[in-house]
């Protein structure tokens, strides 16, 4: 058993020496102040452990050993000082405590070699207590700080705290229990616990990849959950980059990170000032790993930076980050395209709006003078002049209609269209729409109206509905260049009123159907390309019909003709006056205008 205890003691000493060498080597490779402090603490501890194995040491060696031991604790405090600076007073106090402990130690070695057990215990406590304070305070501090850190960092901090905690426990037990632990079993136990501290401390600054992976697991589950938000629902590229770097830092247990675009502009940072990124580029320390972001405009960069505390990024992290960066790059691309599309859409609407309003000015003047010419206000015209004035008036009206349609389309896209709905007989609207198109009819065309005898009560915006029907009728005439019969039926059934406009014209091809109701979606064929139109009429018609709870549908046979159907909801039959007053909240079809506002960019469909 004694032999086992000796082996344990030797092993522990060897473990600490190895730890000291490893830490020293790390510091040699990557020299930071904090790293240096931790290396110094562990090297001192290694020296203490090694010197402790020399049998019957001379007095000088004992004193040197004591020095090294106290310094090992003090360096841990300085290591902590690098992270969370101590106050001036606290630092002076620490120095005083260090001096006192060393003094007590020397006195102990020189004067109390054969002191009684209680005195030895008291002296032991006076030496170990300052050491424990030096080490214990950082343990508590790191543990507390680790709570706010991401999983990987947290685990590292806690491992370091736990390792030193084990050492303190071993020392206190050894000093206080004193002779009770001098038995081989006791020595074996304490040595084993002390030995346990070696890997724990080592793992805190150089965790094996398996351990890192385990630590990361908790984060990865969260990241998986957050990835959807990150990639699909980030509203802008910048927000997406910010989220991406935040999660990269968490996942890697880094202290900071950044994302740059192809030109090297910083898109987002986490835990670091954007201005400092430049300096990181200038002299990249070993504690930075970066992964390329393959963007359309070139290669960007997603990088994470390890802090002063234990930079261990292995190939494992690099591979992980590269995979993550690919997802981020795809997301950034999507965000860029979406942003560009939105900007284009916005520009287009603005242009449409501006251009159409600017056009109104000159049109006003031309239209005004032409009407005055026609009216004879500007003098008498001969026959040709009158004819010319008539043509000009018709053309400028066409132009004006186009402008109005453009403005209405722009307004629809901005969500600024309001519908003034009143209860009205649909037959009246259809009749006046038919009157509107009468001038378009020539000898070859016939317009047949098929209206029911009973009222068809709908609740719509009369002007806009008249426009929709008028547009359907004028299209029917326009796209029947060979002439023929245009029929306009009004029907009501199952709560829905229908205006069905049928022509015997050129019809619509299968491909044409797809673009029929889109903005500027005019179908140009040899038969129709000479016809004028903006391609806005049906787009506006359908949007406005939907805005009023209806729709426009179409059926067509190419070469045979088309049937357009406008559907509108029938007005609710007004209840008797008492019923109306009994449930005031109920929507009643009355004669007071109701304003329906369209929700931005989403036409109300059924």
């Amino acid at each position: 058993m004694t032999q086992a205890a000796t082996v344990a003691q030797d092993l522990t000493a060897l473990g600490f020496v190895a730890l000291g060498v490893a830490m020293g080597y790390r510091w040699y490779r990557d020299r930071g102040r904090a790293q240096g402090m931790l290396a110094a603490a562990l090297i001192c501890l290694a020296a203490v452990a090694a010197l402790g194995r020399i049998p019957n040491p001379p007095l000088v060696l004992s004193i040197v050993n004591l020095f090294l031991f106290m310094l090992s604790g003090f360096f841990v405090l300085l290591f902590r000082h690098e992270f969370v600076p101590l106050g001036r007073t606290a630092l002076y106090l620490a120095y005083a405590l260090l001096a006192l402990a060393i003094l007590v130690g020397i006195v102990d070695v020189l004067a109390f070699r054969n002191a009684s057990a209680p005195v030895a215990a008291i002296l032991g406590v006076l030496i170990v207590a300052p050491w424990s304070i030096f080490v214990g305070e950082p343990i508590v501090r790191f543990w507390a700080q680790s709570n706010s850190l991401p999983a990987v960092q947290k685990a590292r901090m806690r491992f370091l705290s736990a390792g030193f905690g084990l050492l303190i426990a071993v020392l206190f037990i050894a000093v206080i229990a004193g002779a009770a632990l001098q038995s081989p079993t006791g020595i074996l136990l304490t040595q084993l616990v002390a030995l346990l501290a070696v890997p724990v401390i080592y793992f805190s600054f150089a965790p094996p990849s398996l351990l890192r992976r385990i630590w990361r697991l908790a984060e990865e589950n969260e990241i998986r959950a957050a990835l959807q938000d990150l990639l699909i629902f980030s509203p802008t590229r910048r927000v997406m980059a910010e989220r991406a770097v935040y999660w990269a830092v968490r996942m890697m247990g880094a202290t900071s990170g950044f994302v740059t675009d192809a030109e090297g502009n910083v898109l987002a940072t986490a835990g670091i000032d954007p201005g400092r990124v430049e300096s990181l580029f200038a002299s990249p320390p070993e504690s930075v790993i970066s992964a390329p972001l393959h963007l359309t405009e070139g290669q960007g960069k997603l990088a994470v930076v390890a802090g002063t505390f234990s930079p261990v990024f292995g190939s494992e992290e690099a591979a992980q980050l590269a995979g993550y960066a690919n997802a981020v790059a795809a997301g950034l691309e999507r965000a860029r395209v979406t942003e560009r599309m939105a900007a284009l859409e916005d520009n287009k609407t603005q242009f449409l709006n501006l251009a159409s309003h600017e056009l109104r000015g000159p049109v006003t003047v031309i239209r005004g003078y032409v009407s005055m010419l026609e009216g004879g206000l500007l003098g008498d015209l001969n026959d040709q002049g009158r004819k010319a004035a008539g043509v000009m008036a018709a053309k400028v009206s066409e132009m004006n209609e186009l402008i109005e349609q453009m403005i209405e389309a722009a307004r629809l896209e901005e969500g600024g269209v309001t519908v003034h709905a009143v209860e009205i007989d649909l037959r009246d609207i259809v009749r006046s729409a038919a009157e509107m198109v009468m001038p378009m009819l020539d000898a070859s065309h016939k317009l047949e109206m098929d209206l029911p005898d009973r009222r068809v009560r709908v609740r719509v915006d009369p002007d806009r509905t008249r426009t929709i029907v008028g547009n359907l009728l004028s299209n029917a005439i326009k796209y029947s260049p060979e002439g023929g019969t245009v029929t306009c039926q009004v029907r009501s059934r199952a709560g829905v009123a229908r205006v069905v406009v049928t022509d015997e014209g050129v019809g619509i091809s299968r491909e044409g159907m797809a673009t029929l109701f889109t903005r500027f979606g005019r179908i140009l064929t040899p038969e129709t390309e000479h016809l004028k139109g903006t391609g806005l009429g049906l787009f506006l018609g359908r949007q406005l019909a939907r805005l009023q709870g209806g729709d426009i549908t179409v059926a067509s046979v190419e070469g045979k003709g088309s049937t357009f159907t406008l559907q509108l909801p029938l007005a609710v039959v007004p209840p008797s006056p008492d019923a109306a007053s009994s449930d005031g909240g109920h929507e009643v079809a009355g004669s007071t205008p109701r304003v329906v506002t369209m929700p931005a960019k989403s036409p109300t469909s059924d």
């Binding site: 109104r360 009407s371 198109v437």
Partner: protein, 169 residues
């Protein structure tokens, strides 16, 4: 009620087109126009675009109105303090201030100012609402109406303004 001449112009006439305002007392005013002793209706046009102003002036003077034109808000105020027009036609885009500002200032400085009709290139519902809230008797989009249509409407607007003035007093 006057219907816009062109059927095609009926795209959304509720937003600044003619045809919605029934004018109480519209029958009386033509009488005033015909009355020989009475002076012609005086229309003040606040409009900075001379081509538009000249065109309207041609039509209105032909129809027997007397017309003065102010090209800025400031000039309009000095005209108003000098003489009292029967009607103000107000453009919204002026060099020195917006027509809305002019109208607000009118309400403040000349509480009994003549009826104001806004004539603008813009017909956004929000602008129409704002114009009406500031007390304009009508809001027209220029490109939707011909000078003759404006001319025909003037007696009605003047009557409307007078009706409103009686209610206020």
């Amino acid at each position: 009620m006057i219907e816009p001449r062109s059927a095609l112009l009926k795209w959304f006439p509720d937003h600044g087109g003619l045809g919605s305002s029934g004018a109480p007392g519209a029958e009386i005013l033509p009488l005033r126009l015909k009355g020989r002793q009475r002076p012609a209706i005086h229309v003040l046009m606040i409009e900075d675009d001379s081509s538009i102003a000249e065109m309207y002036r041609l039509q209105l003077e032909h129809d027997g109105y007397s017309v003065s034109v102010a090209t800025t808000g400031e000039l309009a105020f000095s005209t108003l303090s000098g003489s009292a027009p029967d009607l103000v036609l107000l453009d919204l885009l002026l060099p020195d201030r917006s027509g809305f500002e002019v109208l607000a200032a009118l309400n403040e400085r000349f509480p009994n100012h003549p009826p104001v009709v806004i004539l603008s290139n813009y017909g956004e519902p929000s602008m129409i609402d704002r114009g009406r809230a500031l007390g304009a008797v009508d809001y027209l989009v220029k490109s939707r109406v011909t000078p003759a249509e404006i001319s025909e409407h003037i007696p009605g607007w003047v009557a409307q303004g007078r009706g409103r003035g009686q209610k206020d007093s």
